[in-house]
């Protein structure tokens, strides 16, 4: 298991599987608020649902309505369990706050591979990464 130390954007403790994007995510227009599926054409996660995942991406983009899109997802039970960014920008941050989605930034997201088991203590800004594929900690 490796531990990454980042910065708390919004607190909470969760565990789940990593869904990793190398591209930025625009929640408004890029994610379907009724299904949680990434719909942005050409996106590396296109067609994949963010629901219930520990969603990892470099930074957010797009309209400030995106904060409300994250909120819609949370209300529908389709939101990510947590969000981890390299750099968290205001739309994502505000979305996590109003939706109460744990969020950490200022970590090297390249350290986290898809499908890895993640334990997050966002109050402490701590991420524990367990590579379940290899069975190693």
């Amino acid at each position: 298991m490796k531990t990454l130390q980042g910065r708390k954007i919004f607190g909470g403790q969760v565990q789940g599987l990593a869904l990793v994007s190398s591209m930025g995510i625009s929640f408004y227009g890029g994610v379907d608020p009724t299904t949680g599926v990434v719909v942005e054409k050409g996106h590396c996660l296109e067609g994949i649902s963010v629901a219930g995942t520990v969603l990892i991406f470099p930074t957010g983009k797009g309209s400030t309505v995106g904060s409300y899109t994250l909120y819609r997802l949370k209300k529908a039970g389709l939101a990510p369990l947590a969000i981890i960014n390299r750099d968290c920008e205001p739309i994502t941050a505000v979305g996590c706050i109003i939706s109460e989605i744990p969020c950490i930034d200022q970590v090297d997201i390249n350290e986290i591979g898809p499908g890895m088991q993640i334990e997050l203590d966002a109050d402490a800004g701590m991420i524990h990464v367990l590579d379940i594929q290899s069975g190693q900690g």
Binding site: R7, I9, F10, P33, T64, V65, S67, Y68, T69, Y71, R72, K75, A76, C88, E89, P90, I91, A93, V94, C96, I97, I98, D105
Partner: protein, 401 residues
């Protein structure tokens, strides 16, 4: 390295002023932390975006209702962006009763919180005029650009929830354009052609905006070569520059209040007539096509513009759907002066409190004619119309063809 909150702010964060104020302070604290702010500063007014039900959706409405239920109250003068419909006359715009009900609930949530439902992107001519040097927290990109540049007030490009948070607490984190150092110009744009009228200033906004977007950093532009400009032309420019370049501020030599504090930066990009022509052409997708929708008022029309439309329409009849979009205070004055009567007799439709960008009209029309560069962007991207851009007077003429 965190923020220093004063005792009142700490009390808000701890829930001492209710759950809505607590959530508001959490939002501001998170933003301030991201942007390295040391402290909060008081704001004199707020402009809130995220008003059209079309954009908010049910979740956005729920959020606003919860904030109102949670005791959220505006602590400073707070005004609103356009809604998805004309609040008083939505039926005349073909809005459904279902949408109207939802939109009314949005407005009610805001009014419960003591927000003034001005429903305009031009708060500065509708009762919310800041002062030079004053700190404010405004959303609505065109108004942000206008407030910073033309008035010399100080605001960041707030989002909907962060502007609401500033309203409910009366403060904003001290970062970005609240700091002198971030207001300095970083690049000069030398305008080589004479620019006149709203549509040309819109094209200028696009020409500069697209060049700004290509740079690695986001310097504040300093414009030289503009010798005279009206309020209407500036509002059009601000809307376009903010839309195409994401800019929150510019200086215009000899025109804007802070420009004289600075020398024109050495690094210079020239804007030639050909750059302007290219910008103008690039906004158009509907040239030569049959037009079915005309709109003026992005940003919202001033009283002078409405008076001018009345002169052009006097005694004539329009042949196509023609939306005149403006703020409620301006509309009331236009009524009193008899302009509205002339315009409505000609068959044009006032769309007050709203506009062609945020109303739920996706796919309703095929080709829009406008003088607004900003409207061109949203008409194509969001509403799926083709667009043609023309000078203000020719837009009116198009409606009469």
């Amino acid at each position: 390295m965190g923020m220093d909150l004063n005792p009142i702010e700490q009390d808000m964060l701890a829930g001492g002023q209710g759950s809505a104020t607590k959530k508001a302070m959490q939002i501001l604290l998170a933003l301030g932390t991201i942007y390295g702010a040391r402290r909060m500063i008081p704001v004199h007014s707020v402009q809130i975006a995220g008003v059209s039900y079309e954009n908010l959706g049910e979740a956005g409405l729920e959020f606003l209702s919860e904030m109102a239920d949670g005791g959220g109250r505006a602590r400073v003068k707070t005004t609103l962006n356009p809604a998805g419909m004309d609040i008083e006359n939505w039926r005349s715009l073909g809005i459904s009763a279902e949408f109207a009900d939802k939109q009314q609930r949005v407005i009610e949530a805001f009014t419960r919180m003591g927000v003034i439902p001005t429903c305009t992107c031009t708060p500065y001519v509708a009762g919310n005029l800041p002062e030079f040097g004053q700190s404010i927290a405004w959303a609505e990109s065109s108004a942000v650009c206008y407030a910073n540049s033309v008035i010399g007030a100080r605001t960041n490009r707030e989002g909907g929830p962060s502007a609401l948070a500033a309203a409910l607490t009366g403060v904003t984190p001290e970062y970005g354009f609240h700091l002198e150092t971030n207001r300095k110009p970083g690049i000069t744009f030398k305008i080589e052609s004479k620019i006149q009228h709203t549509h040309e200033f819109g094209a200028l906004g696009k020409a500069i905006g697209t060049k700004l977007e290509k740079l690695d950093t986001k310097p504040v532009p300093y414009l030289t070569g503009i010798t005279g400009v009206t309020l209407e032309e500036l509002k059009s420019f601000c809307a376009s520059l903010a839309t195409y370049g994401g800019a929150a501020m510019f200086h215009m030599q000899g025109i804007t209040p802070e420009a004289s504090q600075f020398q024109a930066p050495v690094e210079t990009i020239a804007i030639s007539q050909s750059d302007l022509d290219q910008a103008m052409q690039s906004m158009e997708s509907g040239k030569g096509e049959e037009v079915d929708f005309i709109s003026l008022g992005c940003p919202h029309l001033t009283l002078a513009e409405i008076g001018h439309i009345a002169v052009l329409l006097e005694g004539k009849k329009v042949t196509k759907t023609f939306w005149i979009t403006t703020s409620r205070p301006v509309k009331r004055e236009a009524d009193r002066l008899g302009y509205s009567q002339v315009i409505e007799s000609a068959g044009a439709t006032f769309a007050t409190d709203t506009c062609c960008v945020v109303a739920p009209i996706v796919g309703r029309f095929k080709v829009l004619v406008t003088d607004s560069a900003k409207a061109c962007y949203y008409a194509s991207a969001r509403n799926k119309f083709k667009v043609v851009i023309k000078p203000f007077d020719q837009v009116v003429a198009e409606a009469l063809k």
